[in-house]
Subunit: 191 residues, 4 copies
DNA sequence: AGCTAAGCGAGACGGTACGTCAGGTCTTGAC
DNA sequence: GTCAAGACCTGACGTACCGTCTCGCTTAGCT
């Protein structure tokens, strides 16, 4: 059943639906975007959407994934500090967008969805980041002894926090300070 | 409008309504709790609720405030580390409760509400915490030069993050490590 | 609970809804009239209709009853033949109307509804007609020995049959012939 | 279009579809039997059904015709009374069956279909019955002067009426009484 | 103690969106 | 080349809540 699933959902219809959702979220907040509205904008029947996605939140997650594919990409030729700063800036931008905000509402509304989001999306990206960190250790940029999971939380959490409670993405100065603060304890002097 | 507001909302009716919401949230997630349900549980007409609260989210915020009054209280005779650790633990517990989760959904669903929540609730608590920090500086526990706003974010954000994405409150070990990590750069040796 | 029921359903809203159904049935066949359409025409919410009537068919039955109240009335000063002929003509007219046709569809679609219709509506009218017959017997118009139930079927059934299968109400000549034929065996000579 | 029609519709596919409808109607009332259900039961694509039949009602009519072919057959060696009684009994049985009830719903739902049914099915059968009546006249069983169309209505209509409104087929006693009553005025004494 | 205006419960109301379902059309892949 | 399988668009269904409203009935608080 996998091939037809891929076949059909990756058709032009899938794109039309995701684009429709994108458009709708530009105009209205997540809670006011209805499945019916999305269907109409996509020129698609409501049941076509329900056939492939159980909830509006799944649609949002899929849209977010697709539109933020490159957010977590690293440039391994650059330093850890640079990479983390860049990534957090792109993440800030993504979360503060119409899609990112919708995603956060969707995640908040349903524990299972947020768990799924973490498992499917955030965890793999954390793994990548951990890989980058290990590379930095090998390169001698940072020291090896540290609670890196806590470190990741300390990097990512404030970004979400800012977007949700301060209602805006953090400034680049803030992000730079954040990265600097978190990396300071393990940073090797770069004389 | 203030006197009657206080008069009426502080009556047994107000309590009945908040208790009804509390009960309802124990059984159902925020999104599935309806105003009608709350009214029935409280033995109260729907319009009585709408008379005093515009949105379900306001009700939740009020309930959260009432039930977490002591969460941010400090014991100024104790050390900064101790106070922060205790506070974050109580915060973790509160956020991971049925009420805390409801609050976070309510905040996510509406930017204005989350801004309001920050202004009304979080900011004052941050001020208190800053006061505690300044006390610690005077006491010589920590050094004075620091971006304390960033520090506060770094303390509070991971707690929210854990509850939302890990679907559980952080362990006390985690919180201790977090506080230790954040305070390390400014901690004076306590010989 | 009876008074409020009567109170509310006999309000101007009830009339608006029945009138809306009446209007709709003039334009569209029963199966194409939707509850939503009725609600819109009546300037009423869909749920108001569902609150009082379980099915579209109940609405139609109620409308039919209201609009055919006088169909079965007799003029006891007139002869049996006259009364039956008049009644069958009015019945023909009622059944061949937009409302009557809708009623017959509604009855056909659901055995329980047709049984209910018979019990609530047709049977009482048959009782009246039987009373008329007994009066005619006392008056000496007809003889007493007869299977009057069969007689009633023989009178009413062809009317329905004509409307359904011939797609038109029977002519007055037809009705007169029908009554004459059915009454002939028991008619006393009217010298 | 006629040859392929005959060709294909008389194939095993046609039988499979009609049998599937038959089966389905045994389990569910007409309104709840869907084309999709029929197609699945028949192991046939939905479009195969739509290719040959425009509406569910046409399918039902075709099924009814096929399964009631002998209902109107006469035994010309027997009396008119006998033949009519037998025919009405078979008709009662047919109409009260799952297929007959489905047919009546289908007819009620659409005026054109009921007119078509009358033209295609009932009228030819009435012709046959009229032929039988003329034979009886020739045989001297009955007198010639009569409104035989009205007579046919008086015979057939009460059968439909009983099935629809009394929710059951008439008893054989009822049918015998009916035939007797209708024939009485023109019956020649059979001393 | 009685009067009167408010607050109140109850729940009907006009709406909106839901998620399901069946109708009828169109596409695809296997045989 | 035919046809089953089933995706698809459409539109009605009946439900659930929304937030507003009207209606009598408490029930204080003032006379």
């Amino acid at each position: 059943m996998n091939p037809p699933d891929i076949q059909l959902k990756s058709s032009r219809r899938r794109d039309a639906i995701l684009n429709a959702l994108d458009d709708a979220l530009r105009e209205l907040p997540y809670s006011q975007v209805t499945i019916e509205d999305i269907a109409n904008r996509a020129g698609v029947g409501k049941s076509t959407i329900y056939r492939w996605w159980k909830h509006k939140s799944e649609l949002v997650l899929e849209l977010f994934k697709e539109r933020t594919e490159t957010v977590f990409d690293f440039d391994f030729s650059q330093s850890l500090t640079y990479n983390l700063t860049q990534q957090l800036m792109k993440l800030s931008y993504s979360l503060d967008s119409h899609i990112g905000r919708a995603l956060m509402v969707a995640m908040a509304e349903n524990r299972l969805h947020s768990a799924e989001f973490f498992r499917q999306y955030l965890r793999p990206r954390r793994e990548q980041t951990l890989a980058l960190i290990h590379l930095a250790i090998q390169r001698g940029e940072i020291s090896a002894q540290y609670d890196f999971e806590l470190m990741l939380d300390s990097l990512y959490a404030p970004i979400h926090y800012h977007v949700v409670f301060f209602n805006q993405q953090p400034t680049s100065a803030y992000i730079e300070a954040l990265v600097k603060q978190i990396l300071a304890p393990i940073q090797r002097s770069t004389h």
